[in-house]
Symmetry: C2
Subunit: 370 residues, 2 copies
């Protein structure tokens, strides 16, 4: 397990999600990134997927952006006649969400123009390259569910812990309906805000429910690195503290305080990257709690690992085409041959980043709770 965790952390650091390099004319149709802070003009993105940055630091000696072709040193900005620092990525970037930071005179800071997202154990700058299929995670004029911040008691960690609960449109009405629940985990260095902020899980759900593509369900998102905050600590990661919080504290709280169908047959667990590793371990450790398992860029199951086939209604495995899609496809085939309801999904032209996981949620949701 240790080597798997290190691999996830390494993937987050090294795979930076740049598209193919083809020296082309840059089209000057740059617009502010949709993830900019209110009123901020920079960073900007053009229709080809290039990103352009502008940083004000008139007396700095050097300014660079961690995003750049192949991730090799990022993009160096140049000082302009007006003393601002500007630069454009060498090549177009992959569609979707990217974390980044700014290096100024040897220190790491966030871009004052961009909104921040929690990744790599810090609040980082975020930029969005509009995807050709962005419609499915866009804010539309449809009924919207809520994202509910709950503080649940956690005797095992001696505090109140935070979770976010997506409740679908209509949940708060006069209906008495009970819903199945998906427990959905973030990746290494992220937290319980990731799936709604970077992942737009609530908007993906709202849109699919409005289009009649899925039956509504609840999603619960909490912090999965219960005993580890720092990078160094990941090598000694143990599943037990988080498993205790999830199984003994959070699930009973959710079932007591939300209108759930409180049965393993109506409970799923999924996670991305390190959250996939957690999903894998906990679903195998607790076969009576969940019936639907999903690993998004988060490893695989082998048939031999699962003791009682009758308890598993679905195994979903996914990743980006720039990761290791054959591993995911072959694992799903082996599971099918062994009699499991296994599905694989490969997100085209994406790496170990959030567009892979937004699409994976879109593919997973219609398969759940059938």
């Amino acid at each position: 397990m240790k080597s798997l965790i290190i691999a996830f952390a390494a993937a987050l650091v090294s795979i930076t999600g740049f598209a193919q390099t083809n020296p082309t004319q840059i089209i000057e149709d740059f617009k502010p990134s949709v993830l900019n802070q209110p009123g901020q003009e920079y960073p900007q993105v053009n229709s080809q997927g290039y990103a352009r940055f502008k940083i004000i630091a008139p007396h700095a000696d050097s300014v660079s952006v961690s995003l750049g072709l192949g991730g090799r040193g990022g993009t160096r900005l140049k000082q302009m006649p007006d003393s601002s620092w500007m630069g454009t990525t060498e090549g177009p970037m992959d569609e979707g969400f990217h974390y980044y930071d700014i290096k100024i005179d040897g220190g790491k800071f966030n871009d004052p123009g961009a909104l921040n997202y929690y990744g790599s154990v810090r609040w980082e700058s975020g930029i969005e390259i509009p995807a050709h299929d962005q419609d499915f995670y866009s804010l539309k004029n449809v009924p919207h569910g809520n994202v509910v911040q709950v503080l649940f008691p956690s005797p095992s960690t001696n505090t109140s812990r935070r979770a976010f609960v997506y409740t679908p449109p209509g949940y708060d009405g006069k209906s008495k309906k009970n819903y199945p629940v998906l427990y959905l985990q973030h990746g290494w260095g992220e937290d319980e805000t990731a799936w709604s902020n970077q992942g737009r899980a609530n908007l993906i759900m709202d849109n699919m429910i409005a289009e009649g593509k899925i039956e509504a369900f609840i999603i619960v998102m909490t912090y999965g690195m219960t005993n580890d905050v720092k990078f160094g600590g990941i090598r000694s990661f143990k599943i037990e503290p988080f498993q205790t919080v999830l199984i003994d504290e959070l699930i009973p709280y959710i079932d007591a305080n939300f209108r759930t169908i409180a049965k393993s047959s109506h409970r799923a667990m999924a996670g991305l990257s390190m959250g996939g590793m957690e999903t894998h371990t906990i679903t195998l450790n607790k076969p009576d709690v969940f019936s639907y398992y999903a690993l998004l860029s988060g490893g695989i199951y082998t048939p031999a690992e699962i003791k009682d086939k009758s308890k598993v209604k679905l195994i979903f495995l996914s990743c980006g085409s720039k990761e290791r899609p054959d591993g995911v496809k072959n694992a799903a085939l082996a599971l099918k041959e062994a009699g499991f309801n296994a599905v694989s999904y490969v997100s085209e032209n994406t790496a170990h980043e959030f567009l892979t996981w937004r699409r994976s949620l879109r593919e997973l949701a219609p398969l759940l709770f059938k």
Copy 2:
């Protein structure tokens, strides 16, 4: 009204909340601020209220922090032998929450060690000087309410707008109880996240409910600068766009989707700073919508402004002792003499900052919906 708005904006910029200067021995008991990012050692605060900063930018020429004695230029950091930049405020700071930023070689950035809070139309660094009365807004082992993010349809602005709704403990249970509602506005340059993030409104409510000091109610927080984002725009601020969103769109949505008592007799409006100005204007424009009015560092009412005394159940006026407490006290006296149920509150040793408003909410809450 214009001059009032400019005054609020100026207050936010110029009043930086430093305690009296008495050259004293600095006690070396610095601890990481409770608002630091996970695992970050700096910024730190000591028991006297001094703050110490550490910034990594080895090749920078100058680094300073906007917090500093009297707000005159802030605190200049010095480069240490290990190449980091460090510095301590010249004097102790006021208790409570402060916004700040870091200036590096002429550019404005956030402290990578601190969490960010939306103020001054940007996500800024935040630091907390522990207050002697911090217990009332602390996270405790009591039943917790939820903070619900809703996206409500807004035809007048042609989008879905965001609001946060505090629902008290027990709201989500099997109870059928309906609750009164307080509409609570942020100040200039802040947004709908301010009252739960900086203000800790949810924890203040949880604690007071647990202690039996108040009857539970719902709080609704949304963005009040509907037609203005940039500082320049504040001079042309008009109330109508926000008033339309609040009165015609948000209140009907909340009453339709939450278990409210949908009557003016059970509806309050309050706001801090510019949100007080909005509260003042909207309560007077719409006397049939709210019965409880509260301005927190946000101006006053005069008896002559209110046409029908019978519709007003409470007028609450507050500010910090470092603002203009006499204005607030005298206005409440004049209202009382004119037959209104008026209450003033002055927060000791605080300025135009969030500890004033946390305490104001604590004083206001027991007076509402009686």
